[in-house]
Structure formats: C-alpha cells, structure tokens
Amino acid sequence: MNNLLRPAISLFVLLSVMTGIVYPLVVTGIAQVTFPEQAGGSLIVKDGKPIGSALIGQSFTDPKYFWGRPSATSPQSYNAAASSGSNQGPLNPALTDAVKGRVDALKAADPTNNNPIPADLVTASASGLDPHISPVAAAYQIARVAKTRGLPLERLTALIAQHTQGRQWGVFGEPRVNVLKLNLALDSMR
C-alpha cells in the first residue's frame, strides 16, 4: 500500500494542477484573444448599456412585441441565473393547464387568428432561456404585432425573413428567429 500512496497522491496533485488550473487558464487566455465577445457572453449593448445577450432569450408579453418560448425558470421567467425546464410529463395535468393558458393568451391578444398554433410557441423550452422561435411561430404573430403597431403586414413579413437564420451550414439544426434581435429591430423601425 505504501508504495502506492506516494505515487497516487503526487500524481493526483500534479495532474489536478494541469487539468484544473493550467488547462482552464490556457483556454481562457486563448479565448479572450481570439473570441473575446463570445467568451464574455455575446452581450448586446445599446447606448453604452448592456441590454441582453444574443444567446439568451428575454420575456415578452406585450402585444406589440413578438413573444418567445414560454419559460419555466423561477421565480420569474427567463431567469438567466437559474436555468430550468418544466420537467412536466406528457400526461401531467399541469402541462395541459399551462398550455391552455398560453393558447388562451394568444387568442385573447388576437381573436381573429384561426391559424394552427405552432407547438414551440406554447411549450416551455429546455433551458427556460431559449432565444429562438421557429419562423412559423413568428409568422403566426405578424397580424397581432402589425395591428398593435399600425404597421403593414408586408413589412413585418420582410423583417422576419431578414431575421430568419436557416439551418447552420445548410444542414445543422432548425431554421429559427432570434426574438430579442427581432424585437430590437422592430423598435428601431419607423
């Protein structure tokens, strides 16, 4: 045993220093030089003030904005210091209730809209911080936003097209719209 303890402890300490201190510091150093903005959280700055991150969604409930994915973080939605999904199973009555509430809210804000409701618009995201919705979910909301803001439908359709990211490299992931960026563009429209 004794001839195992010394190598065990010293190797443990030395390799810990390499993998637990040197390695993260080297990654940080290279990251700060090569990708400083990404390493710092891809912040969006407006008038010198950070107003969000391009990667982290925000809560939107005003009819004049496009709404994002429902968020199950607590205590408030889109709490970026406590990511979480709802973890509700498919048969859980709480899930059905929550989705019904969201469907009702969408209908109340735009009673004449009879399109099928996009699934991602009424189901909570995995992280509770999902910055994106599907292009269909954005299109579903055009009539409401246009009416509230008094803007023509075509301008909003064009704005969404402009903010739709296709599959990455044409193959990876799903087409999507960044809700925060879309709403910022909306606010700067005249």
Binding site: T19, S42, S86, N87, P93, V99, W169, F172
Partner: protein
C-alpha cells in the same frame, strides 16, 4: 422521421466512422508509449514520474492495478467533497456561493469520480468557479482516464499470454490524460467558444431588459425557508424586475471534457440545453460527435492491440446497429407530438416541443438523447422528463442495456467485451464445446467475473427503485403524477447505477435520501464492475494462448455480431421488462387510448 432526420443520422455515422481508425490507432500507440506524442512529451512525462516516484517500467499485477485505481479515485472523492464544503472561504467565488450541504457534496463527489455526473444541485446557483474547475473539471478528466485505462488493461489481458502483469496504472493514467484527453479538450474548448460558449471568470452580469417582467416572488421566513400556507402552497407576493442576471464562468473548458470524456455534468442546471453551454446547431453536432468519438475509436484500439482489427470492427458493428435502431425510435416518437395538446388547437406537426430548444428541434434533441444515454454521458440538450412515453423509453432502455453500446469512454468497451465473453459462452453451451475468445479459454473463473460485472448494475437499479417506491422519502421526490412518477424513480436509479447521469429531472433528488441512495448505486455500479473486469484481465493475461482450430467460433463475422446483439438485448430485456411495463408502457397506453 423526415428526410432531415435521416440526413443527420447518416452524416453523424459517416463522420464518426471516419474518425475511428486514425484516433483508435493513435490511442493504441500512446498507450504503448509509441508514436510522436510520447516522443514529444517524453521529457515532461519522465519529470512527472520522477517527482511522483513512479518507475514506469515496473508493471502491476491485477490486484495492485485495482488498488492504484481505487486510491486515485478515492482521492478524487475527497478533493471534490472538500472543495464544496470549503468553497465560501476559497478564491474564485465571485457570487459568494455558500458551502454545499454534506449530503449533496458527498453525492456530487461520488458522482463525478464515477464518471456519472448525476447532478442533484444546480451549477449556477451552488458551485464556485474554483469548485467547478479544480473539483469537477479535474474529475471529468480523471474519471474518463480511469475508464480508458481499465479497458486497456483488459485488452492487455487478451493480448498477453502467461503474463503476471497488465500494465502500470500510473503510466496509463498519465499518458491518456496528457496525450489524448488534454489536447483534444483544448482544441474542442476553443472551437466551442467560437460558437458562443462562454469562458471567463467575471461575476454574473446584470443587463436591463426591454420589457419589465412581472412575477410572483415566493416569501421566505426569517430563516430563509419558503413560507407555505395551510394548504402547503408557497406564499408569494407580486413583483417586477427589469434586470436579467446572466450567469458566467469558465464554461467552455469544462464543456469540452464533459463531452469527450462521456461525463455529462453541466456547468449550468440546464446542461447542454443552456445557450451558453451549447449555443448553435453546429456546436451541438460536434458535442454529439465528441460523446461517441473515443468509445468508437477504442474498438479499433482493441483490434489493433489484440492483433486482429476485424475483432474491433465486429464489436463496433454490433454497437452501431443497436444505436441506429434506438436513434430512429427516439426521433420518431418525439415527432409524433402530444395528443393532449393537439386537442387544445396546437399544431401537432411541430412534434413534442415541451422541454426542447427551438434551435435543435425534434431531430437534434432525439438524436442527442439517444447518444448521451447509450454512451454513459448523461449530458442533455432537451428535458427527458418531458419526452413522450415511448420517446422517454429510448433513453431509459439505452441505459438499461448496461452502457455497452459505445458506452462510457473505456467502460463501454469493457462492458461490451464482458458481453462478448458471455456470448461465446452461450454459443459454447449450445454446441457443447469449451468456449474461447481471442485465443483464451473461457472457464469457471472468467464466467464468475463476467456474471458479477453483468449483474451488479441491474441489482442496484431494481433494489434501489424498489426501496425508493416503498419509503416516504422516496415518494416525496416525485414531480409528475401517475406512472410517470414511477418512471422518474426508475430512471434515477438506472442512470446512477449505470453511471450515466442524465435524469427525469422533475424528481427532487437533492435530499439526503436520494443523495445517499444514488451515491451508493453510482459507486458500486462503477467500481463493482471495474474490480471484476480487472480480475478478469489478470486471469486472462495468465492464460496460455490456444491455437485456432476447426472448433473455434470466429468472432469477427456477422454470426458473432448477431449473437452479441442478442446477448445484450436478452440480458437487458430479462432484467427490466417488468419495470418498464409499470412505467413508460402504461403511460403510453393511457395517453393514446383515453382519447
């Protein structure tokens, strides 16, 4: 399954299989001290050995190898426990995270040392940066290294004959860490930062949001405990905020080894669903690739080291076939969507999006879930608890197969080789011949070790689940009503004993009961198997090699691949079908017959 899903699966397999040979032969070279990397790092390696008093040419018998591995891992448990219990007084804690409770620290220490990375805690609200990097990141490396060196020792058992030793544990651990895990992680981490994964030591950043968020703030009493009314509901007060606090930290460096080492413990609570851990579909694709990279390559390493690469390809073929079936099932069932929500007017074409991210959608979530649970990774990019009943059955059964289909780094292959011995044993019984594998006669001692290695995890899973559903502390953790609640508990013990680490995360597992029960399952599920495998390695190494004869069953053809798959499925099915019938199967029937 749409065309895009088939395309993703095909692309994934093509790229994965292209990496097998180069990476596999590189690992074989490194573990034998050959090739450019050991030459390049030889001086540094020698310095390490001198500082540690290691004689690199002094080989170990299997028992000494076991003790070396155990001591090294117990040190890991102690270090991670201590860091969590002392973090408030240690540096790199900008959010002033309090010390973690004793039972949670114990659970996390066992969890990360066993390559499980089950997480009862939420990273961004409980761990300091120092604990994350010096405790958890380090164990991400060490537990991965442990798995790989154990399978290398087992391979040496096959490759050698009439030998007393199976290698030097210190040298093996050092080489795999220095020449394989560290360089690969470094490159992958930088790539991830480029995609948007954060890497900094800043405090959490406050931003001013566009809208004011209204919410119900839970009230707490003087002791900081949440107040409850007489019905047990939380007492809340309406509140508003226009501040969003963005959690920060050295994420990318941990994320890289989390995937490459099939660890799976997220820096944040939402794991690889969190946009700061897995920001883009490309990052997601490479994370999925990183999970299977080393487990697949080790099959080639195995073939090279036993002197017949066809043996490695056969094992890889069995793994690949099972993976494809599982992946197709997961993507198919998730695409179906929830009929409960369809009745509310929700478009079913979108699939089951509860607990999924828009950038990944159904395809990338279903594929990720299959990969992360077949490999004992356990990272998640979607919440498995919210999967459809049969969609959730896929990750559950993937773990129940014993984490041998690719499996954890090293642990997957040693588990699969144990099943291979079982397969030739069954074949031998059928035709009445002494079974042999790779020129080694399989006798009573080998079969005892194989039986222990195969039976220890189902025993832990089923006993653990049985105890938890019988006691109040166990039932108290359930989040979802009905059969799904049982599935949550079954999933927890399956995940812990098989060292996966993913969860039906609704289960409130950060309680003394679950922290201690799952820690027991994780520890014995890991080292119960490792001790048996190393004992097997020692026994095999000591044997003479017998020549191939007309009675030898070839173990590189389609017949053997079929037999191997059959053995894995048979053992898995016999152990778990009754438990599965009580959980996901009932839930599926209820969901689709009452409507």
């Amino acid at each position: 399954m749409n065309n895009h899903a088939w395309l993703m699966l095909g692309l994934y397999l093509t790229i994965l299989l292209l990496t097998v040979k180069p990476l596999g032969s590189y690992i074989a070279d490194v573990m034998e001290g050959r090739g450019f990397a050991p030459r390049l790092g030889g001086g540094f390696e020698a310095l390490l050995y001198r500082l540690c008093g290691i004689r690199k040419d002094e080989e170990m018998g299997w028992l000494k190898y076991v003790f070396a591995i155990l001591i090294f891992n117990v040190l890991g448990v102690l270090a991670v426990y201590a860091l969590q219990r002392l973090q408030v007084w240690l540096p790199l804690n900008p959010q002033s995270m309090a010390n973690v409770s004793a039972d949670s620290s114990f659970n996390t220490a066992i969890s990360f040392a066993t390559n499980t990375n089950w997480q009862g805690y939420a990273g961004e609200s409980s761990m300091s940066y120092l604990t994350q990097m010096l405790g958890l990141t380090v164990q991400n490396f060490f537990s991965a290294a442990t798995g790989i060196v154990v399978v290398i020792a087992l391979i040496r058992g096959f490759a050698r004959h009439t030998a007393k030793t199976i290698g030097n544990a210190w040298v093996d651990l050092t080489r795999i860490t220095l020449y394989v895990l560290l360089p690969m992680s470094l490159v992958f981490a930088i790539f991830l930062v480029g995609q948007g994964v954060i890497q900094n030591f800043d405090g959490y950043k406050d931003v001013t949001t566009i809208e004011v968020t209204k919410y119900d703030n839970p009230k707490v009493d003087a002791a900081g405990q949440p107040l409850k009314d007489e019905k047990g509901n939380a007492v809340t007060a309406p509140a508003t905020t226009q501040t969003q606090t963005l959690a920060m930290g050295p994420v990318a460096s941990q994320e890289a080894i989390k995937m490459l080492g099939t660890n799976g413990g997220g820096f944040f609570n939402a794991n690889s669903a969190h946009p700061y851990e897995n920001p883009t579909p490309l990052a997601n694709f490479l994370q999925m690739l990183a999970i299977f990279l080393i487990p697949a390559a080790l099959c080639f390493t195995f073939g090279r080291m036993v002197g017949d690469t066809r043996q490695g390809w056969a094992v890889l073929a069995a793994m690949t076939l099972m993976f494809v079936v599982m992946a197709v099932a997961a993507m198919y069932f998730e695409q179906q969507g929830n009929p409960q929500l369809g009745k509310l007017g929700v478009d079913m074409a979108g699939g089951n999006m509860e607990g999924k991210e828009a950038r990944f959608g159904i395809t990338d979530s279903g594929l990720f879930a299959t990969i992360t649970t077949l490999a004992s990774c356990g990272a998640v990019n979607a919440m498995h608890d919210s999967f459809m009943p049969l969609g959730g059955l896929v990750p559950l059964t993937s773990m129940m197969l014993g984490e041998v289909v690719f499996g954890g780094v090293g642990s997957g292959l040693y588990g699969m080789l144990v099943f291979a011995i079982m397969a030739v044993f069954i074949a031998g019984l059928m035709i009445g011949r002494t079974p042999e594998y790779l020129g080694k006669k399989i006798e009573a001692y080998e079969m005892k070790m194989v039986s222990i290695a195969i039976l220890v995890t189902p025993l832990l899973v089923l006993l653990g689940t049985a105890v938890a559903v019988m006691v109040a502390d166990g039932i108290a953790g359930i989040a979802n009503p009905g059969a799904h609640g049982f599935s949550e508990i079954l999933y927890a013990f399956t995940s812990a004993a098989n060292n996966n680490g993913s969860a039906f995360a609704g289960l409130s597992a950060n309680t003394p009961f679950y922290n201690i029960m799952t820690a027991i399952a994780m520890w014995f599920g890991r080292f119960g198997v490792i001790v048996a495998v190393l004992a097997l390695a020692g026994g095999l190494a000591a044997k003479k090699r017998i020549a191939v004869s007309a009675g030898t069953m070839p173990t590189h053809g389609a017949l053997f691949v079929t037999l191997l798959i059959g053995t894995v499925l048979l053992v898995g099915a016999l152990n778990y079908v009754p438990a599965l019938a009580l959980g996901p199967v009932i839930e599926h029937l209820v969901l689709f017959t009452t409507h």
